[in-house]
């Protein structure tokens, strides 16, 4: 997933099949560099797309910014992909940066989301704390996918559960974000969890 994938010559639009009537959304969250973009690229049927969202570092609403030149502004990349699940249902995966200062973006991202898949790097568990806080403060159901690019990093599920202070029924699965089957399994685990929560 190098940056040229998101360069100015964007891929041509691939339209949805005419029968698709409904769209659902799952957000893929995690700290910087944990593999969100890679994960989305593994599962998306279209070339992953990117928009650039502008906001103040102080995370004021975007609409307060227009014309306010003195404030410090940043652009944060929002990557997403698409999976047409049936003749009439499509799923979008949105990669959402985990920083607290992008809380406005989180409001946009999480409206109507089915749930969140939280990608975790076992070597950087402490970087996940603020992301979990955000997920919980937005009331999102979630599953944890432990994504390790480095097979030498060993971890026990119990260590992850304890470090992240997870509820007993929160799923924790291993996931290689580069691998389609592994990435799909993590997503299925999340959806099974959402079904359980529906009772």
């Amino acid at each position: 997933m190098d940056s040229t994938r998101f360069s100015a010559d964007r891929p041509a639009a691939t339209y949805l099949p005419a029968g698709v009537r409904r769209a659902v959304k799952i957000v893929v969250v995690g700290h910087f560099g944990v593999g969100k973009t890679t994960y989305i690229g593994s599962l998306s049927e279209i070339e992953p797309l990117r928009t650039e969202e502008r906001m103040t570092a102080a995370s004021a609403p975007v609409d307060d910014l227009v014309g306010a030149g003195a404030k410090e502004t940043t652009t944060v990349a929002l990557d997403f992909g698409r999976i047409t699940l049936s003749e009439e249902l499509v799923l979008y995966l949105f990669g959402t940066p985990g920083q607290q200062r992008f809380v406005q973006l989180w409001e946009d991202m999480t409206v109507g989301a089915l749930g969140a898949l939280l990608l975790v790097d076992p070597a950087r568990l402490e970087s996940t704390f603020p992301v979990i806080d955000l997920v919980e403060s937005f009331g999102l159901e979630y599953a944890v996918a432990v994504n390790s690019f480095d097979p030498s990093v060993r971890y026990e599920e119990s260590e992850i559960r304890e470090a992240l202070d997870l509820l007993p029924d929160t799923p924790v699965v291993h996931c290689d974000a580069r691998d389609v089957a592994s990435s799909a399994e993590a997503l299925k685990e999340l959806v099974r969890h959402l079904l359980t929560r529906k009772g």
Binding site: Y15, G35, S86
Partner: protein, 124 residues
């Protein structure tokens, strides 16, 4: 592993967005969410005073349904700006949209089962 393409931070420039939207208040996420599906209504004519951005939206939405986020990404617009322009077109009757997606709390079991079934079918 740090990937340079992820979560990039660059300095933003608001002038362009300001001009495109005429400095109007941007819509709230519930007005037209990122995964709302939109397409151009049949037999509509492009307004003569249409801006380049509206023309671009007109072109891309003419081919079938896409999500609001896809329209924004293909045109290189921030999603809030794309949403505003799409909302205008919808209010003028130029745009069709699929029923707004339900809030997550309102998603029924059946939809979740469809998602799971679809994932099984596609990925095993």
């Amino acid at each position: 592993m740090t990937r340079p393409s992820e979560d990039d931070l660059v300095t933003g420039d608001f002038v362009r967005s300001y001009v495109i939207t005429g400095g109007r208040r941007l819509p709230s996420p519930t007005d037209l969410s990122l995964h709302t599906l939109v397409t151009l209504a049949p037999d509509r004519e492009l307004p003569r005073q249409a801006s380049p951005e509206v023309r671009a939206i007109w072109d891309i939405c003419g081919g079938g349904y896409l999500s609001v986020a896809e329209v924004a990404a293909h045109l290189g617009l921030p999603t809030a700006v794309a949403r505003l322009l799409l909302t205008d077109l919808a209010e003028q009757g130029h745009l069709l949209r699929r029923a707004a997606p339900p809030a997550a709390q309102a998603v029924d079991r059946g939809t979740l089962e469809e998602v799971l079934h679809g994932l099984h079918t596609l990925f095993g």
